[in-house]
Amino acid sequence: MSVEPEVPIVQVEEVRENPVLYKIISSDNHVFTISEHAVKLSKTLWDLITNLGLTAENALDNPIPVENVNGKNMETIVQFCERHKYDEEEPEYTNYIREFVLPEWDRQLLSIDNEELFQLILATNYLDIQKLMDYCCRVIGDMAKDKTPEELRIIYGIPTDAEDDALERSASDSPGPSG
């Protein structure tokens, strides 16, 4: 299936200034177009583009398949990257990451249900987009405010110790490569 094109609107000025565009295909075959500046926010995608030797001439003829990310998440990711492509580079991650204010535009973009947000985090982690990861984790962290441990376990889907043990047991019982 090819849905052409579920892409953010690329402003004419931006195209003129930065004409290099890349095509990305999600796991469910949705096709997205993304500018060079935006795609650089994803370390995984930019490494891939560099390794594949894609250039301004052949970029659109060689769509990049991303099998771990579905169309819905990819749409959010492309929107985010286009929005933040000219942001200043992030300072080195220090683990003291609570000191930023989540912009309203991003808060609205991330106003999705918990299940979708967790899926988006997994996709963001795979594509290695630090800023989006920080923003998603801030939204997830905000959910924890004034919640009891019982409520946290339900919201985040945190397994109990017994469930953790059961998961580990089932993982060790399953046949390995030689089994």
Binding site: I97, L122, C137, G141, A144, K145, I154, T160, E163
Partner: protein, 279 residues
């Protein structure tokens, strides 16, 4: 007994996680979970530690910086003591008869009865030990630190680090325990030290500077003040010095700053004489 240990006793009665959500947290790598934990406030961290043994370890491994730390004296009609707030978590050390202390804990300023305990020890010693342990674990490191109405000085090894510092009715030693060189906001009011001088850190505060106790600030120092939200009380500032500062204020003041809120002049003739008060 710490709150966490007490609460952990309740773990046995937790309902099992629903299968539909079970996968989410488990699917995340430890790195991702650490970032989420890095966004939790102090209370949420404590609760997260109680979710499972894995999360207890995860939270302990993740650094923490509070948004807000408040250390304040309690002095009601019938009780005295120390109240410490770290984000939404609160702990009170209330002085009782016969050198005993009642310790209460709670969230969002509300005491929780089941965490109350009595210790046969001085309330200052207990509160200091609590802060010692906290300092050892995380450092007295927060976006904002407020010290209010406390009569004791900080321990010599404490190093306070913050962007916004407020010292109200407390020894100036607390400011000296701060290792921050540049504040966004610095408020000092009614310190117990009779003599104190304006120093570089006060002049370097970027947004707000309130020195509500009479001080020795001069025109030359006022000229180097960075903040545009100021409240000062110095007899050494002259009209000329003030006019220069007002010029700076007009050029650099934010839209939200109001000059009527920044400067209140008690005019003392002759015109070039010292201004007795500028607030």
């Amino acid at each position: 007994m710490p709150v966490e240990t007490r609460q952990q006793k309740n773990l046995g009665v937790m309902p099992p996680t629903t299968p539909s959500t079970l996968a989410q947290w488990s699917k995340m790598t430890n790195d991702v979970r650490s970032i989420v934990v890095g966004h939790l406030d102090y209370g949420s961290r404590c609760n997260m530690k109680l979710c499972s043994n894995n999360d207890y370890s995860l939270v302990n491994m993740t650094k923490f910086k509070a948004n807000n730390i408040v250390i304040s004296g309690v002095s009601n009609r019938d009780q005295g003591g120390v109240h410490i707030e770290i984000d939404s978590f609160s702990i009170w050390f209330i002085k009782k008869d016969n050198n005993t202390t009642e310790i209460e804990r709670g969230w969002n300023g509300e005491k929780i009865e089941r965490y109350k305990e009595i210790r046969q020890e001085d309330h200052y010693d207990l509160s200091r030990r609590f802060l010692d342990k906290y300092h050892q674990k995380f450092g007295l490191n927060a976006t904002s630190v407020h010290i209010q109405s406390v009569s004791f000085s900080p321990s010599p090894n404490w190093k306070i680090k913050c962007d916004n510092f407020e010292l109200l009715e407390a020894p100036l030693d607390w400011l000296n325990a701060s290792v921050s060189r540049k504040y966004k906001s610095l408020v000092i009011f009614d310190v117990t030290n009779p003599v104190w001088a304006v120093d570089e850190r006060m002049l370097e505060a970027t947004d707000k500077l309130s020195l509500l106790l009479e001080n020795d600030m001069t025109d030359e120092q006022l000229e180097t003040v960075k903040a545009t939200d100021v409240c000062l009380h110095s007899k050494r500032i002259t009209t000329d010095g003030l006019i220069k500062y007002l010029d700076y204020f007009i050029k650099n003041g934010k839209e939200t700053d109001s000059i009527t809120q920044q400067c209140y002049l008690v005019h003392q003739p002759p015109l070039n004489g010292p201004l007795s008060q500028m607030t």
